[in-house]
């Protein structure tokens, strides 16, 4: 399908993939970035987009979201999730396979990919299960999953307890040049924990997961990646010891990439006080020292990828006793404002570093198109207004779920336009567009 060329005019373009931070125009034609510069030629029928006062960046990519379809459509669907992503400034997301049924066959991978295309919003990349049924026993047909569109494998949500299986995955996946993503958690150490083990859990009388439950598997994953030469992608790192271990492993050349989530960057287990189920997630919110370490790791690049672990749940499911409520919070529609407000505007993080963590590096880690505005690349673009102020109001989410601990937070900065393949899929003023 041919579409009108689009000229993004008058904005500040920040693209760390080519060391660019300048006031230039961006011309998108035929779904590609065709030209960046000033006084660009303007093809017949070009749509002009006034970007004065805004920042144009390569489309943001979230490599860790749960879109719940198939099986959990009351929480989210691939279509609502893709639209929520667009409204959060994301041009692409990677959908975790822990659905019902699990995404562990070429047919189910194909289903997710097709439903994503049909949604016609942010790109949806399927992630396949590491083991059949995510049971942690036998590898899936990884080659066939990749052929059907999977961009990574993981048993996210069900930790890989068998270290031998993790070894096989890290070896076998190398032929297909995909990362093995892991939710690091030793279930023996986390037992029946529902929050961080610490002073708050002791007070509330809730069972805790100690840092060690995460650290033991981070260390294992790093060692097995080192042994095999495979690429391990460690999800949602939340502990100071885990970050130290990743930093050391990177220094000695282990192929590891790692995520930081907005909630582990900004919150501690104090947020659970009062048995707030919207602060219940896995890994749990941890101590001040851990939160500070996540920040330091995110700033220095040890945690190279920003990911939300968007985990929608129906309000009935969260409206329960803390023990009964499911783990997880939504993240797609709040993360940009949260990071701009609390890391960029405070001067802790350069804007270009934010773009590196939220676009350039996710694309690199998962070998996805995008993550750059180089000429000839795919026309996935996010336009940000760094100064617009807004208040987090879950009733306005495009996601089907509302489970966020950030309700009522006053934020400065957010997306105003999301462009995928040269087509605007969302604008702040117009809502979702088809």
């Amino acid at each position: 399908m041919s579409q009108r060329p689009m000229l993004l005019k008058g904005g500040r373009v920040v693209d760390p993939s080519q060391g660019l931070d300048d006031h230039v125009d961006v011309l998108l034609t035929e779904g590609k970035v065709s030209k960046i510069g000033i006084d660009l030629p303007r093809p017949e029928g070009t749509e002009d987009v006034d970007c004065e006062g805004t920042v144009i960046v390569p489309g943001l990519i979230d490599v860790h979201v749960h879109l719940r379809e198939p099986g959990g459509e009351h929480k989210e669907t691939i279509a609502t999730g893709a639209r929520a992503a667009a409204a959060g400034g994301f041009t692409a997301v990677c959908a975790m396979p822990n659905t019902d049924p699990v995404i562990d066959s070429p047919a189910t991978v194909g289903f997710v990919a097709a439903a994503g295309r049909e949604a016609g919003s942010a790109r949806v990349y399927p992630v396949g299960a590491l083991s059949i049924g995510q049971k942690g026993e036998r590898l899936t047909e990884i080659g066939e999953l990749v052929e059907a569109g999977a961009v990574a494998i993981t048993d996210d949500g069900r930790p890989v307890m068998d270290s031998g299986l993790m070894r096989l995955a890290l070896e076998y996946a190398q032929a297909f040049d995909i990362p093995v993503a892991d939710h690091p958690e030793d279930l023996g150490l986390s037992r029946n924990g529902v929050m961080n083990e610490g002073v708050v859990s002791a007070r509330l009388g809730l069972a805790g997961k100690p840092n060690a439950s995460e650290d033991v598997h981070i260390l294992r994953d790093l060692l097995v990646a080192e042994l095999t030469g495979g690429h391990i992608h460690i999800q949602h790192v939340s502990t100071r010891q885990g970050i130290d271990a990743i930093r050391q492993a990177k220094a000695r050349g282990v192929r590891v990439t790692a995520e930081a989530t907005p909630h582990h960057l900004l919150l501690t287990d104090d947020a659970v006080d009062g048995y707030r189920t919207d602060a219940k997630m896995n890994p749990p919110l941890r101590s001040d020292a851990d939160r500070d370490a996540v920040r330091a790791g995110f700033l220095d690049g040890t945690l190279d990828t920003l990911a939300t672990d968007h985990a929608p749940h129906h309000y009935d499911e969260k409206e329960q006793a803390f023990d009964d409520a499911p783990f997880g919070i939504v993240g797609l529609e709040t993360v940009v404002g949260l990071i701009l407000t609390h890391l960029v505007h405070t001067g802790e993080m350069e804007l270009s570093t934010f773009v590196e963590r939220a676009s350039v590096q996710p694309a690199r880690a998962f070998r996805l198109q995008g993550g750059t505005l180089v000429e000839g690349g795919v026309a996935d673009v996010t336009v940000l207004d760094l100064d617009r102020t807004w208040t987090v109001d879950p009733s306005r989410f495009l996601s089907r779920s509302r489970n966020t601990p950030f309700t009522g937070w006053e934020l400065r900065g957010g997306p105003v336009r999301t462009v995928v393949g040269g087509r605007t899929i969302w604008t702040l003023t117009g809502g979702p567009r088809s």
Binding site: G205, G274, Y275, A321, D323
Partner: protein, 324 residues
């Protein structure tokens, strides 16, 4: 119409939320109520016309009966709901149970629930008064209040007194409520148990931690000995009941080495020969049955105060009932 004074607020969820003055108010209010249970006609009309629901989502005998006596002796109308044979078993959520009760126009709910935070969850969602009768491993405030009343009866002012809670602190709501209550009243608090059953970070509560019972006994003026739940053995927290008794059991032989008479409390039900030996439970330093008696008075005081009763009028309220 002016709102009734509420010295405790709307609910009693935990002692962590109360001030020392509020705790003293409850204990002082319990004093006049003690006597009602000694009469031939054990009833005063203080809560006449009030409807109280006892919502017990976890098995309980002692606490439920104690609340029921307290309610009946204050002339409230009571309804008991337990998890078996009710809509709860049919999958009704706590929110829906609460809303249905509310729709039947009740005044108070006494809730026992296996989940930590359940009492607070309910209290935030219904306008009725909510009394926590034990929520998971969180708090069991009326148990701690009756422990405090019993300790006060025997030791007087608790300032500087040393009380050690012994056993499974990790899973115990009784332990948490006792720790807060005792600290607020100025007592020194110890905890003693196998490290597997002590929460990490317990020191930050401001308590002494003992891993050997002999040290705890030497230190304490009173021991509050918790029941060792059988599940803890199945969960692997302690290797066997025999070993637990050998290492942590409170025996006469151990108590005889103490530099002073140590008062013995136990919230019940006891595992004789496990955490406490029979000669200790039945011995002269045991105040275990006095705890049970005080339990009714403390719960009467809590219900009275939550219903808007003025602490200074508890004595008069009691006398008003003299005629039957």
């Amino acid at each position: 119409m002016s709102e009734p004074a509420r010295p405790l607020g709307k609910d009693l969820i935990g002692l962590e939320d109360l001030s020392a003055d509020q705790i003293r108010t409850i204990l002082d209010t319990a004093e006049p109520f003690k006597e009602i249970s000694e009469r031939r006609i054990k009833k005063v009309p203080v809560l006449r016309g009030q409807t109280i629901v006892n919502l017990f989502m976890e098995p309980s005998t002692r606490t439920r009966i104690s609340f029921e006596f307290a309610e009946k002796r204050l002339s409230a109308d009571t309804v008991n709901i337990s998890s078996t044979g009710s809509s709860v078993q049919k999958g009704e959520t706590l929110v829906d149970t609460a809303r249905n009760l509310e729709a039947m126009k009740i005044d108070m709910v006494v809730i026992r629930h296996w989940a930590s935070g359940a009492a607070r969850f309910l209290a935030e969602r219904i306008p009725s008064n909510v009394v926590n009768a034990g929520d998971g491993s969180h708090e069991h405030p009326t148990q701690a209040l009756l422990d405090l009343l019993t300790l006060r009866d025997h030791l007087g002012d608790l300032t500087g007194r040393r009380v050690c809670v012994v056993g499974d602190i990790l899973h115990s709501r009784v332990a948490r409520s006792n720790i807060w209550g005792l600290l607020k009243l100025g007592a020194e608090v110890g905890v003693c148990g196998p490290r597997t059953l002590l929460p990490r970070g317990i020191e930050s509560f401001g308590v002494e931690v003992f891993s050997r019972i002999e040290d705890a006994i030497e230190w304490a003026d009173a021991l509050n000995i918790l029941r060792l739940q059988l599940e803890r053995m199945q969960g692997g927290f302690v290797p066997s009941l025999r070993e637990y008794n050998r290492v942590y059991g409170v025996s006469t032989a151990r108590l005889e080495k103490a530099p002073r008479d140590v008062l013995i409390l136990h919230p019940g039900p006891m595992n004789r020969g496990v955490e406490i030996d029979s000669d200790v439970a039945d011995g002269p330093q045991s105040v275990i049955l006095k705890q049970v008696t005080n339990g009714v008075a403390v719960r009467m005081a809590v219900l009275y105060l939550l219903a808007g009763g003025a602490p200074e009028r508890a004595e008069a309220a009691k006398r008003r009932g003299m005629g039957g």
